[in-house]
Symmetry: C2
Subunit: 253 residues, 2 copies
């Protein structure tokens, strides 16, 4: 099992609004969770500004080092929506109007009695050679070119594009996790954690301290591609924590 | 004013828990906002896993391309806290125990009647040549080496370390922003936005659509290092939106 291919993806979050702190990113977590369900591990994220060269550099650095690359942001109708142009430049191909994308936009706006302006038609532009990603929530499609998946930045629209992609990407086994919580200072159980992780092949234990209801503690997340290994390690950890005198709970606190 | 130095920083968020989607990152936004107050622009973020080589690669790539580099995560007492070791490796220096950090931990735990174990002493380890960053909230200090600032991952602890650093970093003028909102589809005002941005030197306008109380609209954020230029552009945009028949509000919707 250890030798099977681990499928990885990277994510480029495009947007001055994230880097200014104005907007709290929500796409990293939702793309991560969705990828895991597809058996693909999110291995790196970069957040870059609305700058064509910086976008292209990040895309070119990450699309060759991972099985898949996702981007979020910058595919709307306004002047600051430069993702398609930047990724076309990264691939060295021109931007074209995609006939099917145009048709989708024509239908979408005609059905609402809204004119299909030049600005709205910007959302039919794709790098040459690209396919579309369905967008059940707002018409304008996402774009796929080679292993690069270009999604909207608005989280619920990105979510609907991910939904449309569900089950279409080749992956491996999803990473599973088992969480065990204890009312223990991290530093009191550091040796115990290290020994437990070492005793179970193919698992990684993360330690996340908390302060709740006036008590300190930590949740320990055991991750593995092997659900039995994760469960076995979790049981072992629960037992060891209890034996050491800590109040410990399966499922976390 | 355009020719004055723009101070930039990058942020490396270290943590499998972010990449798995288990934890929603909160440090990007708070570091971004804090940096802006210091007159420093957050120009890139990378999220990397708990992997020494990946941490070192990201740190080395970004510390030379920006005035400052911040990291969050991985500086606690447990086996998965590998940031200090990884950054020491990035700098090619050994890890040493910092005498002042040890003293801080001794005082902190003695004051609480808690033993200073080997695991807790891990939090006194720093790359050789490093200084400490005060941590008013939980004892264990942050670490500064050259232009790299190593902060805790727990958001309220990272915040207290930033608070301790306030006013100590050289920067330029803070980026200011003016927000104007309108009940208009982005695509109806795309040309108007483009023309407004072009008419005001030194400003950038971002467009962020929303759906609230059953109505579609967008907020337009005008950013500049020149507060008068931002205000002037905002007033111009408000005027143009109203003239085009849209309900527009200063301050955003």
């Amino acid at each position: 099992m250890q030798s099977q291919k681990v499928w990885t993806a990277a994510l480029v979050v495009i947007g001055d609004e994230i880097l200014s702190g104005r907007t709290q990113d929500k796409n990293i977590a939702q793309v991560a969770v969705w990828l895991n369900d597809q058996g693909i591990r999110l291995a790196e994220v970069r957040v870059v500004p609305d700058d064509p060269r910086r976008i292209a550099d990040a895309v070119n650095a990450l699309r060759v080092t991972h099985d898949y690359l996702f981007t979020t942001g910058g595919i709307g109708p306004t002047h600051d929506d430069i993702t398609v142009d930047s990724i076309a430049a990264a691939f060295g191909v021109p931007v074209i109007e995609h006939p099917e994308a145009r048709r989708i936009l024509e239908d979408y706006y005609a059905g609402r009695g809204i004119a299909l302006t030049e600005s709205r038609l910007r959302m039919a532009r794709v790098p040459q050679g690209a396919e579309l990603i369905a967008n059940p929530s707002s018409g304008a499609p996402g774009v796929k070119i080679a292993n690069v998946y270009i999604l909207a930045g608005v989280p619920h629209i990105a979510a609907s594009m991910l939904e449309a992609l569900t089950g279409t990407l080749e992956g491996g086994r999803p990473m599973v996790s088992v969480t065990v919580g204890a009312f223990s200072a991290e530093s009191d159980v550091a040796d115990l954690l290290r020994a437990t992780e070492a005793a179970h092949a193919g698992v990684a234990i993360g330690s996340y301290p908390f302060f709740k209801d006036g008590r300190y503690g930590a949740n320990f997340v055991i991750r593995s591609e092997d659900s039995e290994a994760a469960r076995g390690c979790g049981d072992d950890l629960l037992h060891k924590l209890a034996a050491a005198g800590f109040e410990a709970r399966d499922g976390g606190i």
